[in-house]
Symmetry: C3
Subunit: 339 residues, 3 copies
Amino acid sequence: MTANDHSPNHLQLTRGGQLRHFLTLDGLSRELLTDILDTADSFIEVGTRSIKKVPLLRGRTVVNLFFEPSTRTRSTFELAAKRLSADVLNLDISTSATSKGESLSDTLLNLEAMASDMFVVRHSQSGAPHFIAESVTPGVAIINAGDGRHSHPTQAMLDMLTIRQNKGGFEGLKVAIVGDVLHSRVARSQIRALNELGVEEVRVIAPGTLLPRDVESLGCTVEYDMERGMKDLDVVIMLRLQNERMEGALLPSEREFFRLYGLTEDKLALAKPDCIVMHPGPINRGVEIESSVADGPQSVILSQVTNGIAIRMAVMSMAMGGQMSERQQAQTENEGSRA
Amino acid sequence: MTANDHSPNHLQLTRGGQLRHFLTLDGLSRELLTDILDTADSFIEVGTRSIKKVPLLRGRTVVNLFFEPSTRTRSTFELAAKRLSADVLNLDISTSATSKGESLSDTLLNLEAMASDMFVVRHSQSGAPHFIAESVTPGVAIINAGDGRHSHPTQAMLDMLTIRQNKGGFEGLKVAIVGDVLHSRVARSQIRALNELGVEEVRVIAPGTLLPRDVESLGCTVEYDMERGMKDLDVVIMLRLQNERMEGALLPSEREFFRLYGLTEDKLALAKPDCIVMHPGPINRGVEIESSVADGPQSVILSQVTNGIAIRMAVMSMAMGGQMSERQQAQTENEGSRA
Amino acid sequence: MTANDHSPNHLQLTRGGQLRHFLTLDGLSRELLTDILDTADSFIEVGTRSIKKVPLLRGRTVVNLFFEPSTRTRSTFELAAKRLSADVLNLDISTSATSKGESLSDTLLNLEAMASDMFVVRHSQSGAPHFIAESVTPGVAIINAGDGRHSHPTQAMLDMLTIRQNKGGFEGLKVAIVGDVLHSRVARSQIRALNELGVEEVRVIAPGTLLPRDVESLGCTVEYDMERGMKDLDVVIMLRLQNERMEGALLPSEREFFRLYGLTEDKLALAKPDCIVMHPGPINRGVEIESSVADGPQSVILSQVTNGIAIRMAVMSMAMGGQMSERQQAQTENEGSRA
């Protein structure tokens, strides 16, 4: 055991500091985040070729383990894995495996025994990918594709890639995150990444009912009034409003939300003239964002989707690389101790 | 803009006359249809090899976008794409993506942003593939896998391939299409193709309630009595009867339909002795066709299925080729105008 | 016609005695079973590589034809086929193809016409894979992935591989099969394989209500009392208890079953000290088996899963090889008779 084993990152990093799982942005250094962005940059080019394939995961088995359905996120991971030349197995656990009453743990043990190399995990419970990474056989990489309200680290990283592409870097930027921060696993990961990468200010803009208690402690300022909040912004990230929130007491109505926090051309005009507009999709047009803004010249929403494939290729290949170098080191040490 | 842009085919052909989308047979020349048949012929051989693969779409991403479920058609496109070495993503939109309330247009923009190269589209609304082709990014090919009552061009082309294989060509042939022409997207495409390829006569045989108004304008003769209609035929194409039609007032009963328009050995004997029997499948035995005829020596129904893979490989590879040559030309022109 | 055509194995063996379908263990010789185990052994190594691929089925089309849903079994066949480099088409027939009222026979004819090379068939009716093998086009291999109560030959063979790995061979072994033998397709295949491979004793341990009539005729001894039955065992194979049996009159309750026939540490202590514990999965912890036994040092349950991939790769590649050599021989004979 080394001191590393007790840091929050002993799970997702090798002793040499390489990524071996990708669970959360917490504890990841600016250097590592930049490494992910640089690796993703190199994959952007792959997407423009006619032969969109690199052999990095050739012969590897990637299992998409979705305990919560999400066609969109699953598709991007499936495409990313196929472009890395992996074999992909899609398991929609919400409808299938547990129908025979098998426990999560037994399902995982079985999939590992089939010589899977990577699990891409989506789960409604926060911490599920951590739990799996703790128990999984060495050599198998876990990628978090969204867990409960906790985090959605590939989404946050594709946002960072999009910001860097458009702004050249992070220094001096003022970035706002607007909307339902309380229920958003994306927002937590974004605030973490923006701070680590060194933006000047992360501002959250939302009604008090959609903010977590003590939100400032995450590393952001708070603004309840959107018009004031738009001032001086370089980047505005709109969050998706979960329609089901409307039915509770948290929000008056979609129309009222749009009036106060929807991104319109008028409100966008209050930000810097070159402020970019982001949204993780799918968009609720006329609820979080006006169509003319979503489709307008400042919107980079579709670049985010393109970058999502590149980021997923990056973390999948980096985590697999970390697992392999760890395995080699273990073998070397075993041979050393036997000699 | 050239004159071409205003012809019905500016959408599916490049300026050089190459296929770039495959939406409808309307407006396609006999030369181009023959080119498709010849290309498919070369793929028939691929299906007989142990290694049934050609690298024409290697590294390309083909998305099966089925807004209307059809396991059979989807499977043939999936196999065709895999035999062309493409990566395939199956999206059953009827059950998934729109569950989050995203519009068709936004779903498509997202899939394009994932660097998809081709959408195979099945939709219950006539014109949906055209609509998609109009708005899609240059470089992405759209293949119509059946839209509403409008058309099903790969089905019609596999029928043409089957006729040519068995009859050597089209000249002088008398071909009948029997059954529910009114609701059939296949029939419209078949009548168009048969006329363009130069058969002597296309005859539709059906009760008046199952014929579109002014059906002769499509390029066919009409016969209400099947016994008279069978006379001198070289080819008889049975249409599938949609069971749900029975429940309306359009038809008395399955038994009555079979008595009048079902293809029996007796009725088939009224055609030429070497008349071939076709059906797009799945067959309703004892409704449209007698089992002994479906399985008999004049039936080429299973050849149609085999030819379906070859035709789909042909139009997919031709459309991708058209997109690529168009892109190259655009680059050359850009460079020219810059110089 | 040769005498072979009338033996029970004319279906699954070529005239030269090679596997061409894999339907049942009945009639397969010790030599052939050993050949399957040896071939699987060579694939075990493939699963430990980073590039888990061999090109034996490259360009082949394998159709997973599941008339009864089973995510787990389907996944192992899918992975096995992909590691053999085949193209895989998953068809869940229970929900799809027959929705248009097509018969099993027509569905199969269509899939054959698409130039499929292999059908992996799971069906709730005993004999369905035999029926399909009887009617299928020469050149297409059928693999039984479980049919009714009849047999599940790949499951039995992966069990044999696991026994051989742990015991070095079969001679002199005492093996018990415990639980619901009556409804188990696995048990029949296991009893057959164990006898052919030459174990000393196959013992079934179960209440009389869960035993088939005249069970001894399958080649086993019977023990109703588990404590007596555990004596001298080298291998104990627990069967999965189908929960739905509980609702009938066959069993008093899960708790009562566990008390009498569940494998506990205490009962396991009555067997030989190196007795291994097997279960086909998914496990009902606390019903058939105590968790500490399932996860204990004598359990080889997860090795069974790993071996399942290797056995499926073995029978798929052997059956394809048999089909090819038969086809070549037929061609040679045709040429000979023409000359």
